[in-house]
Amino acid sequence: MDLGALFGNFNNFLDFTVGGLVIGAIYALVALGYTMVYGVLQLINFAHSEVFMYGTFAVAWTFVLLHGTGDASWSLGRAVPILLVALVAAMLMSAAIALLVERFAYRPLINKNAPKLIALISAIGASFALAEAMGLRDRFAKWFGLDDNLANYVAPNKARDVYSNPVSIQPHGLFHIGGYSVTDVDLVVVVAALVMMFALDIFVRRTKFGRGIRAVAQDPEAAALMGVNSTRVVQVTFLVGGLMAGAAATLYMMKIGSTRQNAGFLLGVKAFTAAVMGGIGNLRGALLGGLLLGVMENWGSAVFGSEWKDVVAFVLLVLILLVRPSGLLGEALGKARA
């Protein structure tokens, strides 16, 4: 244990903190997908990590399509046009996958009023299948005789290997917070995450669909009696979760730059932890949980060494749940003012 590493130097302290906030913003966006679905269905959507992963591939593919495979390092400004296209592609891709999961892994079970645990298994199965399908994309391309045409997208024989965005985005420092040089990429990640959250907040609070979501979350039967089409509401919930995951995927690819077929798993576990920490089913809780988790991981890395980072995250989770059994802001989606 080395408290000095964290608190010994204020600049380092800020450095650890800001770095954690940036990754925390991505956790928060992914956590939204878990929290929305849980809020409405009281089900943990384990396939959401794959929804995110497909988004990251959509981003890389967009760059391959519009730029080619030549490796390049661009400034953020130069990449903006392609990034915007990639954002749309990733949101569409993630939303499509989310709807697919809803249609085939969840709706049949919801209709049967099946036990909760079985929905979890269905989602775990879907998660396995989706991740493997991405890992086998070279085989599928071959079946259709497209392996030559799509060689740059499927990476023949190595579809399971890491897949990098050909354009590596070089961040530029804008200003300093302590020793941390805040770059344009960091700023975009955090601001974009906050804007998306804010937009979602308004969507849930102010729109007709949002009211439907809250109604179903509060009392599905009463909502149905009031004429709310619960199937449609569930669909919209998955759709919104998917769109947010797509946005998160774009930010992730801006910051990290490469992905692989199992990239969703660890991030999914983290995002889910963040959602529970903040109070699952609570949108603002997801934001708080994500940022807190990101920061605490970095502080934990500083004090105990990076190998204990995940232990710090989970111990923190248990402590929070012991003090506040339903998370920090623990309200259900239905009751939330937000």
């Binding site: 590493a5 130097n9 380092n12 450095d15 650890f16 770095g19 954690g20 940036v22 990754i23 490796d71 390049a72 390092s73 890992g135 024989n157 190595k158 399971r160 290997d161 890491v162 990098s164 050909p166 590596s168 070089q170 961040p171 420092g173 020793g179 941390y180 040089s181 770059t183 992730y252 910051k255 990290i256 730059g257 490469s258 692989r260 199992n262 990239a263 798993f265 660890l266 991030l267 991981e297 970095n298 890395s301 500083a302 060494g305 990076s306 190998e307 980072k309 995940d310």
Partner: protein, 379 residues
């Protein structure tokens, strides 16, 4: 150390074709320089039999296993093209890189009488989990990639590897960092895996006082901001990373973006073109990647980490075949005394099964490309 059934069969085969093969065997016994393909028109009892590969072909580390299989298939194709009457094929056993699947696969391998040699196991964990099984059954094996130091200390005389172990590489890397690259303060990082910890640990102990601090990330980690902060705070002028190319690339990238300007060095797990892709050309430039293997010969048709080693391992078995060895005991003895120049460098084994002389090379990244043709040998 021979399996009773195999040896019986081998003796029967030997007796049957003794008249034909006697002269050929006699002449090629001394010729174990790694030439394949001249078996004097006689047919070995092993013709039509199989080599086995045990390692990860699917799962998280599947890409590495695929590289090895590509190398093996290249060697087999070259051999089979030359020896149309004595084809050898490959049976693959996919462990998914998991040490708990490996023992059952190993048992299958030793009970399959058509298998006369094993390329693998791919990783150190699998090797430790299956070493006893292969040893008790007396099946000779050559691993292209398992570098953990302790494997060859178990007394398994059938176990060999064509790759330098972590100690050799770690010591050379430390020397290169301080003497050639001129580093004064090195920050050592690993990914917590056995291979990585062994390599990084050896680098650290060889560096002595020049190692300022160390940290450990985890496999699959993508955000390195905490480590980057620590490296900067330590005032290090070089970073050594023990691990594989994905995390190495991300680390190099985020170090540079965080303003770190010193040297970045990593070991053979990172010596892959994908390192540059993950790090991005700008961040990868100047990176030093060591490997206990020389450059692949021109026109070598299998690419990726460990492909050359797998190719070499296969050729050793094929050389044993060409030299007329057709039972486990003889093949094992042949491997033990083998000397030759492989695609990955000169090969000869010591009595523990480690490669005798392993020259460590440093590959450099320049102009956004890993220069695989002109590495610098660490003296």
């Amino acid at each position: 150390m021979i399996r009773s059934k195999k040896s019986l069969r081998a003796f029967a085969a030997l007796a049957g074709v003794a008249a034909l093969t006697l002269s050929a065997c006699g002449s090629s016994n001394d010729n174990n320089k790694g030439t394949t393909g001249d078996n004097g028109g006689s047919k070995s009892a092993l013709c039509g039999k199989n080599l086995a590969f045990l390692g990860a072909l699917t799962g998280d580390a599947g890409a590495l296993g695929q590289n090895m299989v590509n190398g093996i298939n290249l060697a087999l194709k070259q051999y089979n093209d030359k020896n149309a009457d004595c084809k050898i094929s490959l049976k693959t056993f996919d462990s998914q890189g998991s040490p708990d699947k490996a023992p059952a696969l190993a048992t299958q391998v030793i009970n399959d009488d058509s298998i006369f040699g094993l390329i693998g196991p791919g990783f150190s964990g699998e090797s430790l989990a299956t070493g006893k099984t292969f040893f008790e059954a007396g099946l000779p094996s050559i691993s292209p990639s398992a570098t953990n130091v302790t494997i060859t200390q178990q007394g398994w005389t059938t176990w060999h590897r064509v790759i330098g172990n972590d100690d050799a590489q770690g010591a050379a890397d430390a020397k290169y960092l301080t003497e050639t690259a001129g580093a004064k303060k090195v920050y050592v990082i690993d990914d917590g895996q056995d291979y990585s910890k062994g390599l990084a640990g050896k680098v650290k102990s060889s560096l002595g006082a020049a190692a300022v601090a160390s940290d450990q990330i985890s496999v699959g980690q993508t955000d390195m901001s905490a480590v980057v902060t620590k490296v900067k705070a330590s005032g290090a002028d070089a970073v050594f990373y023990g691990g594989y190319y994905t995390e190495a690339g991300l680390l190099a990238k985020q170090l540079r973006q965080g303003g770190f300007t010193g040297k970045f060095m990593s070991g053979d797990g990172s010596e892959d073109p994908n390192f540059v892709k993950v790090a991005g050309a700008a961040a990868a430039n100047g990176a030093l990647l060591s490997a206990p293997a020389g450059p692949a010969p021109a026109g070598f048709a299998a690419s990726g980490l460990y492909a050359t080693q797998a190719y070499d391992a296969t050729n050793i078995f094929l050389a044993a075949l060409a030299a007329g060895k057709d039972n486990a005991k003889d093949i094992n003895a042949f491997i033990g005394s083998y000397t030759g120049d492989g695609a990955s460098g000169p090969i000869a084994f010591d009595d523990k099964g480690d490669i005798k002389q392993s020259t460590i090379y440093v590959y450099k990244v320049a102009d956004g490309k890993l220069d695989v043709d002109n590495p610098e040998a660490i003296k």
